[in-house]
């Protein structure tokens, strides 16, 4: 696999006049917009990487006069903080992205589900929304955006739990199918996109899908905003072209002693030093919603894993058995191995349990706990045991 050398990009935070963009959007045929998004190869930037154009197409094809577009701003993945920056720096572009999606799918109502801890952004967003709504009115467009605040539950970033939360219920994931594009918020066809994804659609319309396709690899087109943290002299937010190898990334951001990189947060994968060369950051390698955490040799991977499991034990909604009890068992399990109460072979049982959680849990949360667990245990087994 050929990797792309590290390259800074500046699309997401580029200043764009919202008025011009919106005017352009509402003059363009929805099918044409959709084609451009499809052509761009854009995949969801929240982490799961579902092709955005396809999602929009499914929602657009649903025969319903009531549809919703939702901006998922419940940025809860540990080590991710890029949406916060996008919302504070270029909120108009997020609204504009929602307007584009609404045009394509035929929605008149949009919601921004804002992480509870980002409440401080509310005055700014409200202020900018007034301007946006005035613009809509001026252009005779029937599209309105409401903001809903989360209350601190990680699970509410899962799309169907997020719908439940907006509907005023307890945030618990739903069964799928039906998928959101068929039956989402209030049982209506709903398109839900990450903050960054929506901004990308604005830039694709501005510069054309070819411009976007030129960046990245076959499976991972375009650029992505990364939240870099951990043992790095350059912590912060960086927009980079997709398709670089972990080793290029570490050369740029590492402190010279990087032992591993956790790509994609608590629900992502741990890449150890010996795999830096061969691992591509992107959908063909390790996908990420943006979280990149670097650990140097002073860190105990047991502590890292314990921390993640502690997080999941608390943040599982508790609804389904594999996730609710599985997380507790993994956590208590590594504690027992560390203390010597269980022998090291018990780790193998736990790895099997993690695989069950991956295939038997109800939603993405439970299904991804196994990612961090297996990749850390596999690569740092000694650190877990001794």
């Amino acid at each position: 696999m050929k990797n792309i050398p590290i390259k800074r990009v500046d699309l997401i935070f580029e200043e764009v006049t919202c008025r011009e963009m919106v005017q352009k959007v509402f003059k363009t045929d929805p099918d044409e917009i959709l084609q451009q998004i499809l052509d761009s190869g854009l995949k969801g930037r929240g982490g799961a990487g579902f092709p955005t154009g396809m999602k929009w197409k499914f929602a657009a094809d649903e025969p319903s006069n009531e549809k919703y577009i939702i901006c998922n701003a419940d940025e809860g993945e540990p080590g991710t903080f890029k949406d916060r920056q996008i919302l504070s720096d270029v909120p108009e572009k997020v609204f504009c992205g929602m307007a584009i999606a609404s045009r394509v799918i035929g929605a008149t109502m949009g919601y921004i589900y804002l992480r509870g801890e980002y409440k401080f952004l509310l005055p700014l967003l409200d202020e900018k929304l007034i301007i946006f709504h005035e613009l809509m009115k001026e252009m005779n467009q029937d599209f309105h955006i409401k903001i809903r605040l989360g209350s601190g539950a990680y699970i509410c970033g899962e799309e169907s739990a997020l719908f439940e939360s907006i509907e005023g219920k307890r945030g618990e994931p739903r069964n799928k199918p039906p998928y959101p594009t068929t039956s989402g918020l209030f049982g209506k066809p709903t398109c839900i996109n990450n903050v960054e994804t929506l901004v990308h659609t604005v830039m694709i319309l501005k510069y054309g899908p070819e411009h976007f396709r030129e960046l990245g690899t076959k499976d991972s087109r375009g650029s992505k905003v990364f939240s870099v943290s951990g043992d790095t002299p350059k912590a912060g937010i960086f927009e980079l072209e997709l398709g670089m190898s972990v080793s290029d990334f570490v050369d740029e951001f590492g402190d010279g002693d990087t032992k591993s990189v956790q790509v994609g947060g608590a629900s992502g994968f741990c890449v150890p030093r010996k795999k830096f060369e061969e691992t591509i950051i992107g959908f063909e390698g390790v996908p990420t919603g943006g979280s990149m955490k670097l650990f140097n040799s002073s860190r105990s991977m047991y502590n890292v894993l314990h921390n993640y499991l502690d997080f999941f034990t608390e943040e599982s909604c508790g609804q389904c058995t594999p996730c609710r009890v599985g997380c507790q068992q993994l956590l208590k399990g590594i504690e027992a191995v560390k203390k010597g109460e269980k022998n090291s072979r018990y780790l193998d049982e736990l790895v099997k349990l993690a695989s069950t959680m991956k295939i038997a849990s109800k939603c993405g949360l439970g299904q991804s706990v196994g990612n961090a667990f297996s990749s850390i245990v596999e690569n740092f087994r000694e650190e877990i045991i001794y």
Binding site: E314, G318, K332
Partner: protein
């Protein structure tokens, strides 16, 4: 129609069918825990996961609709491993002291553990270091969180089936639990004690408060005279817990068994059901007279029934503005209790202080009802102990009575005879039908104009039924009812009760009389009935009740000779002084949480 392949066999099912039901069609049983036929899909226990060829994740068979060309494996290595893990995980957070558990032997988790886990205990014990207190404050329901597997059947029952919302899910992750408003005890919240959650709980987390030892103590005490009454729905459910298939009437066997257990007198709640009809029918006619003749605008109409203690508590919490509309009649159980320690004791020459009255009910709310402070009009606690159908079955097993082979016996005299009208109290629409049979005849002197007295419009399982009968040819004293179309409604299950009362409130329904039963199907689907109870079983029990009605020679309450006798010798007349004292009650407003 959708074609799919399950374990290599082709099957064709209608669109929307779940994988679970499609597999059932091919006689493949997929285990379930959170799934219940009466409830909406949850898909959260994950015991029912199956493999789809080519799919990454397993699918919850109960929650996934079939798709064309699907290839499903219900017993692959992947499935077996996952299923075993799920069961082991549930067991690791479950208080599995089975021998100490009331549900030992009738526990769905125990069954699954028996089938799949074979005592391996792969995982760490997560339960025994935690402290749990059992909530025993309610008269009816006992909640033990250490046995809860969070399948949320109870929550869905309380929320969707009953529309009560006393139970809810609280907290998340490892702290997640089934709770109540502010985690108050079941006795302090909006719980109606209907016990539908108890009937659906797969484990011993929610069970009825049992009073078996108290009843045994009373029976074995030679100084006490223990009378037992049995509700109409018990005789069509009891057999199920004693190895007899659903839908079989076991009235005679039940009476024989009760006598063998040592009760001094085995009597029938159906008798007081007939009495209820006399009192409640008269009350309705009186209210109608006030409204029609005296043009009294304050008379509370429509009148609703009051036999179901779950409904009574529900209306006290939820629609307190309608309390005057609820009939002041006590339920048949409480009428029986009040008479057992007055009329019965007097006739038998017994000291009422030495009479213990026990009732066998299909219901858990009856336990609460018996404990209400108003229910002491005999000067004693009118009903001392209430047992559910399930508890009686347990007593019969404890006593080693071979129920299936018992010879049928008859109820004792004095409050032991009943009409078919009393029997059908056990099914939704039954009280209405019984009331119409009597009221129509009192007013017109003729039988109600339905073939064989079967008032079919109020029968069946539709959530809310409406019917009307035009009253013609009235006797002189009832002339004001001439030509009046008596309109009635029947609702069963508290969600339907809420709907019908809301309609009354909104003025979108115009009726004189409403029968409301808290449980789906009426008492035969009560929270105290054998587990499992589902729609198929409810239908069978209902058919049995109607058979019992048809079998009886007397089918109208006012023709029950013991009813005629009690009015002559003791009560005087319906709504008379004695009736008011013993057979009627009052209600009070309760908080809305």
């Amino acid at each position: 129609m959708i074609n799919l392949c399950i374990n290599g066999l082709l099957v064709k099912v209608p669109k929307g069918t779940t994988i679970l039901d499609a597999a059932k069609k091919l006689n493949f049983k997929i285990p379930v825990l959170c799934h219940h036929d009466d409830l909406c899909v949850a898909g959260n226990c994950r015991v029912c996961v199956v493999e789809q060829l080519g799919g990454k994740a397993l699918l919850a068979a109960c929650a996934t609709p079939v798709a064309e060309g699907m290839q499903i494996l219900t017993n692959s290595l992947k499935v077996r491993t996952a299923r075993k893990h799920v069961i082991e995980l549930l067991l690791s957070e479950h208080n599995a002291d089975c021998t100490k558990c009331y549900k030992n032997g009738n526990c769905e988790l125990q069954d699954l553990s028996n089938e799949f886990s074979v005592g391996d205990h792969i995982f760490l014990d997560l339960i025994h270091h935690k402290e749990y207190t059992i909530d025993k404050f309610s008269s009816s329901i006992q909640k033990d969180d250490s046995k809860c597997i969070r399948c949320q059947r109870c929550v869905r029952t309380c929320e969707q089936l009953q529309g009560v919302n006393a139970l809810c899910v609280a907290f998340k992750g490892s702290e997640q639990k089934i709770s109540t408003f502010m985690n108050h005890s079941m006795a302090e919240v909006i719980c109606t004690n209907c016990g539908q959650c108890v009937n659906r709980c797969p484990t011993g987390a929610l069970v009825e408060r049992n009073y078996l030892d108290d009843v045994w103590d009373a029976i074995t005490n030679p100084e006490l005279h223990v009378v037992v009454q049995t509700a109409p729905a018990v005789r069509v459910g009891l057999g199920e817990d004693l190895g007899i298939p659903p839908g079989e009437r076991v009235t005679g066997k039940m009476v024989a068994a009760l006598k063998r257990l040592g009760f001094d007198s085995v009597l029938d709640t159906d008798f007081t059901a007939d009495l209820t009809i006399m009192e409640e029918g008269t009350e309705l006619l009186t209210r109608l007279k006030q409204a029609l003749v005296h043009k009294d605008k304050n008379v509370a109409l429509p009148m609703t029934t009051s036999c179901s203690p779950g409904w009574v508590k529900f209306v006290e919490h939820t629609f307190p503005e309608f309390l005057p509309n609820v009939s002041t009649c006590k339920s048949p159980q409480q009428m029986f209790g009040a008479l057992a320690k007055t009329y019965y004791a007097e006739k038998r020459g017994l000291d009422p202080a030495k009479v213990v009255s026990v009732s066998i009910m299909p219901c858990t709310a009856k336990k609460y009802e018996a404990d209400r402070p108003e229910m002491r009009s005999s000067g004693y606690k009118d009903v001392d102990f209430v047992l559910t159908t399930r508890e009686l079955a347990r007593m019969i097993r404890q006593a080693g009575v071979d129920f299936k082979r018992l010879k049928e016996d008859k109820f004792d005299r004095l409050m032991g005879s009943s009409s078919g009208a009393g029997v059908i109290f056990g099914v939704t629409g039954g009280v209405m039908e019984a009331a119409l049979r009597t009221a129509y005849e009192i007013v017109t002197g003729r039988e109600v104009p339905f073939e064989n007295l079967n008032i079919t419009p109020v029968r069946g399982f539709e959530g809310i039924k409406q019917a009307s009968v035009v009253i013609e040819g009235c006797k002189e004293e009832w002339k004001f009812l001439e030509g009046v179309e008596l309109k009635c409604a029947v609702a069963h299950g508290l969600s339907n009760a809420r709907e019908v009362m809301q309609a009354v409130k909104d003025g979108t329904i115009d009726v004189h009389f409403i029968e409301i039963m808290a449980c789906p199907g009426g008492c035969l689907g009560g929270g105290g009935q054998p587990i499992p109870t589902n729609q198929k079983i409810r239908e069978k029990r209902a058919a049995a009740i109607y058979e019992e009605d048809m079998d009886l020679s007397i089918r109208k309450s006012h023709e029950n000779p013991e009813i005629i006798q009690i009015y002559k010798e003791f009560l005087g007349e319906p709504l008379g002084h004695k009736s008011h004292e013993l057979l009627h009650t009052h209600y009070r407003e309760r908080p809305r949480y």
